[in-house]
Symmetry: C2
Subunit: 214 residues, 2 copies
């Protein structure tokens, strides 16, 4: 049995943050499919594993961890890669990861869900417009940051802050953003995609036609 | 001059997380009023301090820190209080703080803003209903957790995870929640309010009639 089991599904960018990290550090891991769109996240079995009712859940030699931000820190603690080398660096990583969870992923993921996966008769134009407004503010902050330096938290190398912030951004088409309109973000996504071990979300996790059978 | 200056305003629960922590650890600090509702968060001066355009901003002997989650970790690093004693404890604290930023504060703060501070002609019933639905899910998770243990991350003592999660919850009236409907959360709020140094948000930060002049 692989050392780590990641409970996930292909469309979850939060799960992708954990899956990408596991791949980048060369961990011995396998994805476990959670049929989230058919209610598996609300099953008693899954809620026993994570009472928050969310993916990702990482099950490994040091126990079960949930929340992508905690999982990324857990893997830094175990593997020593993609973390900060000094306290100010670790703090800067935290700062951008909290910002990502609240302002970038928080709105971008929900916007993408509503415009791609929610049945059309349940979509609300006002809610979508609200989320789109918030997403634009977050993208503006990230685009400016990546115009000033190559990576989000530390200027010269990628950290878990980059892995966190990019979680939903390889789906710019599904979010309705043209790469040409965010040149700094686009170049940064290419820099991350050039790292050994990188793979796109639908290749790394099960539950999407590209992923094959689950 | 006090050792720390916290850029904040009375109605911000994210700023309150930092203000409450500073008070609980007995730090030498003063609040600096940011007239957020009149656009001060978008001024060139403020954006130079924090390009994310948000409060809180903590300015202290080790530099400027933003994002409440990073500020709380910064103060643990400096004062050694309200943190985790072991790596698993620190990880559990991170887990709940990321959850708070994304799922609890993320929706609760925006819901409160829309129903209390946004002009009535700009409020949208569908957006408010969406945020209210998300808030209820988060409250259910927190209420269950606090039925199982006295504090959020560690069973027997408060940590920065509690300080983070309670940021907006002394305003249950403004959020439209009756304390009687969330008995575990209510008892936990009382436990935190009993800590030496605790004060309510409007007493601790400027910009509200209760706070006096700014």
């Amino acid at each position: 049995m692989p050392q780590y089991r990641l409970h996930c599904f292909a469309q979850s960018g939060n799960a992708y943050k954990a899956a990408l990290m596991l791949n980048l550090i060369g961990a011995d891991w396998e994805p476990i499919f959670v049929d989230f769109f058919n209610g598996a996240g609300r099953s008693p079995e899954f809620l026993a594993l994570n009472p928050m009712g969310e993916v990702p859940v990482l099950d490994g030699p040091k126990g079960v961890v949930t929340q992508s931000g905690a999982i990324l820190h857990h893997l830094v603690e175990s593997y020593g890669q993609f973390g900060g080398e000094t306290w100010p660096e670790r703090e800067e990583i935290l700062r951008w990861m909290f910002w990502d969870n609240h302002k970038l992923t928080g709105y971008t993921a929900t916007l993408r869900f509503m415009t791609n996966f929610l049945p059309e008769d349940k979509r609300d134009a006002a809610v979508i417009a609200f989320l789109e407004g918030r997403r634009k503010i977050a993208f503006k902050v990230l685009e400016a940051r990546l115009g000033a330096q190559d990576f989000v938290a530390t200027p010269d190398r990628p950290t878990i802050a980059d892995i966190s912030c990019c979680g939903y951004l390889y789906w710019l088409d599904e979010i309705g953003v043209d790469r040409a309109d965010v040149p700094n973000i686009s170049a940064w996504l290419d820099r991350i995609a050039a790292l050994p071990g990188w793979a796109a979300p639908y290749e790394l996790m099960p539950g999407h036609p590209i992923s094959g059978s689950v």
